[in-house]
Amino acid sequence: MRSRLWGFAIPLVVATTCSVMLIEVVMHGQARGGAQPAGAQAAPAYRAPRTGDGKPNLSGIWQSMNEANWNIEAHSADFPRFLNMGAADAMPPGAGIVEGGPIPYLPAALQKRKENYDKRATREGDPEIRCYLPGVPRAMYQNMPFQIIQGTEFIAMAFQYAGALRTIYMKPTPGPADSWMGWSNGKWDGETLVIDTKDFNGLAWFDRVGNFASDKLHVVERITATGPDHLSYEATIEDPQTFSRPWKISFPLYRRKEANARLLEFKCVEFSEEVVYGHLRKVPLN
């Protein structure tokens, strides 16, 4: 293996700088579908195929590939939440999706995050353990697929986890009530779908270690196709009750490419019931 690699690398090394660059340019162009001349811009734009109404077609089944659902900040591997599950529930390490350092919590909020952490594996803890709706942005990086159903007036995001759903109103509409998933208005900014979400109920968490926001949370997401099978996702998180300044998260989304890829059903209520109601059994388990 090693020798084959070297065999390939050496000719490249001895080639002129110019030809190396040429090779890179060609490869780059191929990877992006060859639509854009490479090198002109720092990040040459990809033009997504269009829907019938002429908008970038973001339809499909997508999934993140990161460890943010465990902890959105950079983190080392750590002990399992449920010790009897051993390594299977141990936290995998992750480089994080938060841009530019730690989340800028206000002091009281930082204290609450610590409290969340301490109770995370209990009935009062992580809403995910209870099969509660994931909220935004968490729904976007849970370790399960979601599907974009792209209409003109409405774009839906259907999540496998808990059958959660976001309805994005492409004609701005005021939210009538607070909710777990918030109220989303969307618009197109060229190649980018921009979603403005607020009217949260403040009960959702961002991850399994207790990062959170209040009902003043305001999320602005930008979703852009960067290739046939990749979306770039970035979001600005703002909540003056919880954070000292707005901050950003970003990560890629990957298309589920299996020929029989489907959004399957993860109705998790019954899986959560012992955690939620087990203490009210007539005869305790065990």
Partner: protein
């Protein structure tokens, strides 16, 4: 806020064990709608609206809210009401609902139909003139069950599509639609709860798995697993399929994208994502509660085929059907204001023939609210807790009554 209230209220309602027929509450979306009945008659000119992708456009906010029973009442001989007869029938059934709580009782406090609009008559009704949803067999009733003698499948055994299954907490009204689905469905669900399946007749017989007594048997309120799945926000007949009118929150939204149709069901916030791009069914060992659906277009009609239902859906909720159950739904837009929803239910292990039915869906105003049913399900915890307190009190009383005390 409204929405959360209703969510928890609904769940509480179900858990506390009011008869299923009571669970006919109402949709929030419906509050802004007129209650004008409108018959979905076929217009002279067929609907031609298309999506940007060039397929028939079914998008919008819809309801199937009606009092129409799945099976024709035993004493009903007509296939269709006149408009006047329908109005009278709706009035009668609305009054029947109102009668089911006694003024001054706890039930009345929780189910004051006028207070929370928990009443089908307070939202837009579809104006369906049919006297039953079932169109085939032509008598408007379910066909005979395989292996049952003729009598077992008769009107008596099937419970007449009405109420009175007599299962407390029949909870399942949950099934909201369960109310419309007839005594059979409701009885079956009650059976799953570990109660005597009093109301279901033949349909209830195989019902044992409905509640999945992971609690290891015992009374309905010994553990959450003994409570019917509707009360636990796991399953609703408004999504099934077939999509039956729920007792409350009968709001639907259809959104279409390239190669896919999505149906959002407000009741228990169910989402059906139906691929129409010739994607194959998931492997048959994958058994969703709502079954596995794929769709295709036949002219102006969306045809959705659903199979591989979760065994607990089959035994616990849907008429006690088998693993051979296949449901075919046909959505045909009639005009701006309505589409026709037809269904064929085929299960050769359960019925001697497939059966068919139909109902209209009519437009309502949005939006569809987030019905966070499980998240707001205080009723289950409160009910279980109350039972534990009562048991504790009873145990203390028994101890105090012991001789020598």
């Amino acid at each position: 806020m409204n929405c959360r209230c209703l969510a928890s209220l609904g769940a509480m309602a179900l858990a506390v064990g009011v008869a299923a027929g009571l669970m006919s509450p109402q949709p929030i979306a419906g509050q802004t709608q007129s209650a004008q009945p409108k018959a979905a008659a076929t217009p002279a000119k067929p609907w031609t609206g298309k999506t940007p992708e060039g397929v028939p456009d079914l998008q919008g906010y819809w309801t199937n809210n009606s009092y129409t029973p799945l099976q024709r009442d035993a004493n009903m001989t007509k296939e269709f009401f006149t408009k006047e007869e329908l109005a009278a029938d709706e009035k009668r059934r609305a009054a029947q609902q109102e009668e089911q709580t006694t003024p001054g009782t706890t039930g009345d406090v929780h189910y004051d139909f006028t207070q929370f609009a928990l009443d089908r008559s307070q939202t837009r009704l579809t104006g369906n003139l049919r006297t039953s949803m079932i169109t085939d067999p032509s008598n408007g009733r379910l066909p005979a069950r395989v292996g049952a003698d003729a009598g077992a499948a008769g009107p008596g055994a099937r419970g007449g599509g009405g109420r009175g299954a007599g299962v407390p907490g029949a909870a399942v009204g949950a099934a909201g639609g369960g109310a419309a689905a007839g005594g059979g469905a409701r009885g079956a669900a009650g059976g799953g709860a570990g109660r005597g399946a009093a109301g279901g007749g033949a349909a209830a017989a195989p019902a044992g798995g409905g509640g999945r007594g992971a609690g290891g048997g015992g009374g309905q309120y010994d553990s959450v697993q003994n409570i019917p799945i509707g009360s636990r926000c796991i399953w609703t007949a408004s999504a099934a399929p077939i999509m039956m009118p729920p007792g409350y929150n009968p709001a639907y939204q259809i959104i279409q994208g390239p190669g896919v149709v999505m149906i959002l069901i407000e009741n228990q916030h169910e989402t059906r994502v139906i691929p129409t791009d010739n994607r194959p069914h998931a492997p048959s060992s994958v058994k969703p509660w709502l079954g596995d659906s794929t769709g295709h277009w036949e002219g102006n009609t969306l045809v959705v085929e659903t199979m591989n239902f979760n065994p607990r859906t089959l035994t616990g909720t849907f008429q006690g059907t088998s693993d051979q159950l296949k449901v075919t739904e046909r959505f045909t837009r009639i005009d701006e204001d309505s589409f026709r929803y037809e269904f064929i239910v085929d299960d050769p292990k359960t019925w001697v023939q497939p059966w068919k039915g139909e109902m209209p869906f009519v437009k309502i105003n949005g939006p569809v609210f987030e019905h966070a049913c499980h998240e707001g399900n205080y009723g289950i915890a409160n009910t279980l807790n109350a039972y534990r307190q009562e048991e504790k009190k009873a145990a203390e009383a028994a101890k105090a009554a012991q001789p020598g005390k």
